[in-house]
Amino acid sequence: MMAPVLAQASEELLTNPTLFHYLFVSTIMFSIGVIGFLTRRNMIIMFLCTEMMFQAAGIALVAFSRYHLNHSGEVFVIFVLTIAAAEAALALALVVLLFRRRESLDAAAWAEMKG
Amino acid sequence: MLLVLVLWPILCSLLIAVAPARQARQLALGGSLVVLALTIVAAFMFPWDDGASYHSLGLDAVPFLPSLGVEMSFGVDSVAMWLIILTGFLAPLTVWGSFTAITERVRTYYAWLMALNAAMFGVFVARDIIFFYVSFEFTLVPLFILISLYGSSNRKFAAIKFFLFTFLGSIIALAGLVYVAWKASADIEGWTFQIAALQEAARAMTAREQAIVMLAMMAGFAVKVPLFPVHTWLPLAHTEAPTAGSVILAGVLLKLGTYAIFRFVLPFLPIAVNEYAPFVAVLSIIGIIYAGLICWVQTDVKKLVAYSSVSHLGFCVLGMFALNSVGAAGSVLYMINHGLSTGALFFCIGFMYERYHTRSMEEVGGLASRMPVWSFFMVFFTLASVGLPGLNGFVSEFMCLLGAFQSGASDIGAGGTVGQLGPWYAAIAGTGMIVAAMYLLIMVGKVVFGDLREPAGHGDDHGSLPADLTLREIGVLTPLALGCLILGVYPKPVLDTIEAPVAQVMAQLEVEPETMHAATSHDTIVKFAMQAGGSDND
């Protein structure tokens, strides 16, 4: 019973933000994620930043879903969550592995691909 | 029938690939003999009286991607038929000739050899450019593998260079062909890749378009031929390739280039061809003399013959760009003749190499006393290659030069014809005859005659091989020698039958530029495309 009530409330109180508002929030979050990914050296933070970009995408998806009045966007967020979870599992396993090898979380410690 | 001709070698190839390695040789020989038989059957089915038009000898086309208008359509005229006969003729010989040379990875070898045959047949029977181009390019794959697996010391580099060089050229040629196809498909729904439709479209193009398309096509086909500045892959590939690879390379693969020029460049782009014929001719003349002179300083016999191929095909291209019947017929004849004589020379060198494991004229020489039979064949084919009258090389070389001479000489006398070249071209190219005599006789003089010279440790011991040729090797060379002789003494069957298609192509070259622009050939394109689409019915 909680959800419909909240939904109702949100509809009544907060109809004003347009799609653009949400997309703008999403964009800012995404850009911050990009900045973080590019600039932080800790691999875990970098992954956190990718999660943040996922999150930004999620906001946009849900906003579009609402705008178009169907649920596909939300479904996509579920998939994004799935991927995020899978990524967290794998990436963190990798981080642990790498950390074991070099005793460091610095992304620059792994520059074997240098041409 | 033509489909069978293409499919059978593929089938053989697959069979060899899965059969036990012990039986690969027998299978390959049997399969290639069937190829020969099929070729002969096709030759008998072919209506030689009507050599100028295309006959499918059975199934016309197999739809492939109907939505894109792509279908494998078949058809040969007498020129293609002769080249098919040449290919089929060489097929068992190449297999038989490699029995002792190839002892490892036998299955791979013969399987790819058969696949190569299929690809070559594909080129000659194709009546649409997709099928043509796929076959044209597919020839690279088997040869690449043959060279890179079974070649000599520098085989990897040679294979890669051969592949990339010719591939790059063909890609450019494809661009030209596709441009024409695009033009041809402008007024119909979907696409057409039929050569007949494309021809109409190409002929309707402006002079400028034709020039660009010709440049693109020549970029691909000239590399294959190979014409002067883009020939350097050939000596390397020849030197490194196994014997059968060299034979097929010289025998048929180089002809794909000249055949494609004959089939596409000449009838498609009459304005550009007429405009740039002197330029191409100059390139081929440079090739004739330049490659000939380079031959002179070679010490590697195989490289020498490879360079001589460059020189010889210069005559072929020269004849073709004489743009008259004599030149073109000579050129077509040259394709067949060069395939026989140079292919045989490569066989001879291969047999020598199997015994001495060197191709250097410094190390081996005077073999006449050690290998008289081999020497006989070597001298015979060398003389055929020199263009001695009575052997095959002469007629075609003579006609190519005569064609170049006649070309554009109609003001001189009754024997002159249309064309853009002239006596000077033939006169300068003719010096190539002298150069050819020089280097080939020097080679024979060193290798065959003179004092016996053998590399150290190679006295009478050639492994399992006797000093002179075995019956098998004689059996490989004899049909080639017979072919050389018959075509030299009596080339009339070939000349008679290629007269009509050559005349047709020549007639297509004589279109006036003004009339070409005036006539909108869109209707014809549509007509052709519709015919092509509905060709299953007829």
């Binding site: 347009t18 900045i35 050296r41 875990i44 879903s65 009045l69 799935t82 | -």
Partner: protein, 360 residues
């Protein structure tokens, strides 16, 4: 774009915001993080203020919902802190804050299910994993400097370039969204979420039936709403749900209609009741009945339906991906080579040597 926000001001704010973000990132020596944070906050606040003002067109009712701005700013602020906090643990915690505020935004968008699952999955599961790994993969601090940061946490790589890039991306993206996607419409109001769900009723008649059954819709006996006189309900042969309307198929429509009117809409509300000859006009002997609000599909219904009915393949694939990730994580985390301590030491020495050799 002009209709939404003044571009010059917008870009000016972006520049300031960018400057603030770049200052807020951890740096080696002097790290004016507070200043940067303030700058960034000012800039983003100004942008949102401008956005809000642009939406305001004189009608106070049009003032944007305050919750959106509050939580949007919280989300952005927290995400800024994620990338600027030198300690990974705090970063992760701030990320949880980001997620929480985003889930509020989800709620405002009517995606209740996603909002809660986001909190459960992200904040509850994934981020906890992150925290574990952060704990696991941090060198044990020495006694002497407990508060010391790792070298790779203490300062960031090329913060200016990264920030520039990020804000250029931001400017371009938002410009593109503002200009391109609006297609001339400056306001993209979000419709009431309930409208979307009417068609879903077609797909889930059982829910409607269950709800109606709970109200005694299918009982044989009913009673008059006014007098309380019981009477027999007509037997319903069949029902059909079409776009939020329930059609009843009865033997005697007139009688049934009468009965249902008598009930006074307690159980069902006949659409178009009172209109004379409502059902004769249509010539339809079915009775259209409004579906009760409680029987309308909820957000979860919608998401579930979309997930299962519209994207089953993707769902399967997601499952496979998760399984693969599971296996992958197992394989990766497994210890590859069993080494004795001595061997490890030797290996570590050679590794160190090769690293120092490689880095030079």
């Amino acid at each position: 774009m002009e209709a939404l926000i003044n571009p010059i001001l917008f870009y000016l704010c972006l520049v300031i915001g960018g400057l603030g973000v770049s200052l807020a990132l951890p740096r080696r020596h002097v790290s004016p993080q507070v200043l940067g944070a303030m700058l960034a906050a000012t800039a983003f606040g100004a942008i949102f203020l401008l956005l809000g003002l642009s939406t305001y067109q004189g009608n106070p009712a049009d003032l944007p919902g305050i919750y959106f701005y509050v939580f949007a700013l919280i989300a952005i602020g927290a995400s800024l802190r994620v990338i600027s906090h030198p300690r990974p643990v705090y970063s992760a915690l701030y990320f949880i804050l980001t997620i929480l505020s985003s889930s509020v935004l989800y709620l405002m968008l009517g995606a209740e299910f996603m909002a809660f699952s986001l909190i459960i999955i992200y904040a509850g599961a994934i981020l906890i994993t992150y925290l574990f790994v952060i704990m696991l993969a941090t060198q044990a601090p020495q006694e002497s400097d407990v508060g010391a940061l790792s070298e790779y946490d203490a300062f960031s790589r090329e913060p200016m370039i990264a920030t520039c890039l990020g804000f250029v991306l931001l400017a371009v993206l938002s410009g593109l969204i503002a200009t391109g996607l609006t297609g001339g419409r400056h306001h993209l109001p979000l419709q009431p979420a309930a409208e979307a769900r009417l068609d879903l009723t077609n797909e889930m008649p059982r829910k409607v039936i269950r709800e109606l059954d709970g109200r005694g819709f299918f009982s044989k006996v009913s009673y008059d709403s006014g007098s309380g006189v019981p009477f027999t309900r007509p037997e319903i042969a069949d029902i059909e749900v079409t776009d939020g309307v329930l059609f009843l198929d009865v033997d005697d429509p007139a009688a049934a209609r009468h009965v249902m009117l008598d009930e006074g809409g307690r159980i069902t509300e006949i659409i178009g009741a009172g209109a004379p000859g409502a059902n004769t006009v249509s010539g339809d002997d079915r009775i259209p009945v409004r579906i009760p609000a409680s029987a309308m599909p909820s957000n979860i219904d919608g998401v579930g339906y979309a997930l299962v009915a519209e994207h089953p393949m993707a769902l399967e694939l997601a499952g496979v991906i998760l399984l693969m990730a599971l296996l992958g994580a197992v394989v990766l985390a497994r210890k590859q080579i069993e080494l004795t301590e001595d061997e490890k030491a030797a290996r570590a020495r050679t590794l160190g040597a090769s690293m120092s050799g490689g880095s030079s």
